[in-house]
């Protein structure tokens, strides 16, 4: 390492720009504000929050993402988290489940149970939720390519537990557009994927009216390299594309708009993140009205969850991550988030240990019960800087959305690989800035110690037999289920998939009850729709 390497220098005074590059004035004065009065919370356009009483009626949901190994392993962790005061479950699924491969598939074998729990069929889901009353807990699934199937499975578990479907609360991510741009768990081409998503939303509006059938997510494009402004722009553009599709399908706009939810990242630029959330609410309410004439106040509300951590976490001096996540969670709650997931300090690099997972949860509890943040609505509302930056974030985000409109819409931008290439460029720029030392990351490119290691202390090891056990259980299932029923329900699914106007959810639920597997349902749909061909553009 040369003497000019950043870690051997003292960082310069930070440049007066936000992380997205917005120039910050030395002093903001009231005459610089477009919205000197941001209005009242609980009323459109909701700059100050969607509830008139903020967190006084209900705190945000503490929702820690968790899942690994077998359904039995994960069920045990859920019971631990619920006993520790967690208020909602968030299911991490393994990659085979997310990409639609059964655990014995050659593509899948090395990934079973690694980044989440393996959930290939209803029998596994019954174990996962054993002893957990689905009528009394809200469950969030980070699932996209196979979201319709996992949702169908959740309904089937509820049926088995005797819980009426209308009592189910929770969220499936079900946002396929951003998967093509960043996260990569796409399966089918864009257009049939949009159909499957609409099917899920329309079915859920009817059968599970308290469930969020989509969580339109900016988190992953952000983590992949997009700025805060781009995160918001791409996410709202995706949201508009779903609304357009649902209207085309004849959905009741007021009804479905009411159940759309969002999911964002929180990074380290404290004020930019707070203002991003305030701008997001105002912009979404305006866009629904401008573009679709949706003026029902409840339908115009942008409800969102966040994740704190991810790519802002460092392997270098990992305990610093506890402070980072704490600050990010402050931004999220000052910005009015409905649910918060605080990453454990080791989470970007491994499955958290019980020790690190507990600190992450305690961080939220300290904010909620000790800091006083929750005691008044939008405590920063009316701050000259916060109102000014909210205006600027809104302006810049509108520009990103218009740029996508000019390109021909998100679907085209994705099919061409345009957005994917943009994000890769951004990630490259971001990396170069860190390498040059223009962006300061404490403990990584500045303030290192000669003797520092990237040691997390205790390491969580997924049960090494998990994959084997999952495969054994899978083989047993194949032997024990009723093959005629499986064949019959899959055949019906295949036929329905070929008819554009048929809602596939009842068919998927039938398949789940017959113990058809995720891999089998996906293969059936692929036979009708084909697979997405990734545009490779560097």
């Amino acid at each position: 390492m040369s003497d000019s390497a950043p870690q051997n220098r003292t960082p310069p005074i930070p440049e007066p720009r936000t992380a997205s590059g917005i120039e910050i004035p030395e002093l903001v004065t009231p005459d610089m504000l477009q919205h000197p009065d941001p209005g009242r919370p609980g009323r459109p356009p909701y700059t100050r929050g969607i509830f008139p009483n903020g967190y006084r009626g209900r705190l945000w949901t503490f929702r820690q993402y968790s899942g690994f190994g077998t359904a039995e392993n994960t069920n045990e962790r859920y019971r631990f988290l619920l006993e520790s005061g967690q208020t909602g479950l968030s299911v991490a699924l393994d990659l085979p489940t997310q990409c639609g491969y059964d655990p014995i598939d050659p593509m899948a074998r090395s990934e079973v149970g690694k980044v989440g729990v393996s959930l290939s069929n209803l029998a596994e889901a019954e174990i996962l939720f054993d002893g957990i009353d689905l009528g009394g807990i809200s469950t969030s699934f980070t699932i996209n390519g196979t979201a319709a199937i996992i949702y169908a499975m959740y309904c089937a578990v509820a049926d088995k537990q005797g819980v009426p479907r209308e009592k189910l609360t929770g969220t499936i991510q079900n946002d396929i557009l951003k998967e093509y741009v960043a996260r990569g768990t796409w399966i089918f081409p864009v257009r049939p994927s949009l159909r499957l998503i609409s099917d899920t939303i329309l079915f859920s509006n009817r059968e599970t009216p308290r469930f969020n059938p989509i969580s339109i997510a900016g988190a992953h494009v952000r983590d992949a390299g997009a700025t805060a402004v781009e995160e918001l722009g791409y996410t709202l553009a995706n949201g508009l594309a779903y609304v357009e599709e649902l209207i085309r399908r004849g959905g009741d706009a007021t009804r479905f708009a009411n159940r759309l939810s969002f999911f964002f990242y929180v990074h380290m630029d404290f004020f930019e993140e707070i203002c991003k959330f305030r701008a997001a609410r105002r912009l979404w309410a305006s866009l629904l009205e401008e573009r679709f004439d949706i003026t029902d106040p409840k339908a115009q509300r942008l409800r969102f969850g966040v994740v704190c951590g991810g790519s802002s976490l460092t392997a270098a001096q990992p305990y610093n991550n506890i402070v980072r996540v704490g600050l990010e969670a402050m931004s999220a709650t000052l910005g009015g988030a409905q649910s918060v997931f605080t990453c454990a300090y080791d989470e970007a690099f491994q499955i958290p240990t019980e020790f690190s997972a507990e600190i992450a949860l305690r961080t939220q509890q300290i904010l909620a019960y000790e800091s006083g943040i929750s005691k008044t609505v939008d405590p920063l509302g009316g701050s000259y800087y916060v109102e000014w930056l909210t205006d600027r974030m809104e302006e810049e985000t509108r520009r990103v959305i218009e740029e996508i409109d000019d390109y021909g819409g998100v679907v085209k931008a994705i099919e061409d690989g345009y957005l994917q290439a943009r994000i890769a460029e951004r990630a490259h720029e971001r990396k170069q800035k860190v390498d040059r030392g223009d962006t300061v990351i404490v403990g990584q490119n500045y303030f290192r110690r000669d003797d520092q290691t990237d040691d997390f202390g205790e390491v969580f090891k997924v049960d090494p037999q998990a994959s084997e056990r999952v495969q054994e259980k899978y083989q047993r299932l194949l032997a024990e289920r009723d093959p005629a029923r499986v064949e019959r329900t899959l055949k019906a699914l295949e036929k329905a998939a070929g008819q554009d106007d048929e809602n596939l959810l009842p068919y998927l639920i039938d398949c789940c009850h017959a113990y058809a597997t995720v891999g089998e349902m996906v293969a059936t749909l692929k036979s009708q729709w084909g697979e997405f061909q990734e545009p490779i553009r560097l």
Binding site: V115, A424, A427, Q432
Partner: protein, 131 residues
């Protein structure tokens, strides 16, 4: 630093969909003069080995963030040997715990790079490996 004339395959084995690291390294290698081929997501070891041979690359970079790196590196090496191309080197990038670095190098990887290493250091190490 120059990687002029070097042919490099950047590949995503397994099911992991995080491709930022792969694309960033591909862009950086290209800027340094290399001819870079990128496979796209979710490729089998068998496919990656075949592309490496067909494209006559000098080195294959495998990017993995799902914790399956040991299995996938071994599998790719086995497939390369089957194609009689065991001389094609492999480097690894992604979320690799410190304790696995040594194991990957022992298994025959020529370099293990994580996201926090400066690109310049990664590139000069690759250049050294290809001399």
């Amino acid at each position: 630093m120059s990687l002029k004339g070097k042919r490099i395959l950047i590949a995503k084995p397994g099911l992991d969909g995080h491709d930022v690291g792969a694309k960033v390294i591909a862009l950086a290698l290209r800027d340094a003069g290399a001819e870079v081929i990128y496979t796209g997501l979710r490729k089998s070891a068998e496919y990656i080995a075949k592309v490496a041979v067909d494209e006559d690359v000098d080195v294959v970079g495998l990017s993995m963030l799902s914790g399956s790196h040991m299995e996938l590196v071994n599998e790719t090496m086995r497939c390369l040997k089957e194609y009689d191309a065991g001389d094609i080197k492999i480097f690894v990038g992604g979320t690799i715990p410190e304790k696995d670095r040594e194991a990957l190098l022992n298994a025959g990887a020529c370099g293990v790079y994580t996201s926090e290493m400066p690109l310049e250091d990664v590139l000069s190490d690759i250049e050294r490996q290809l001399q």
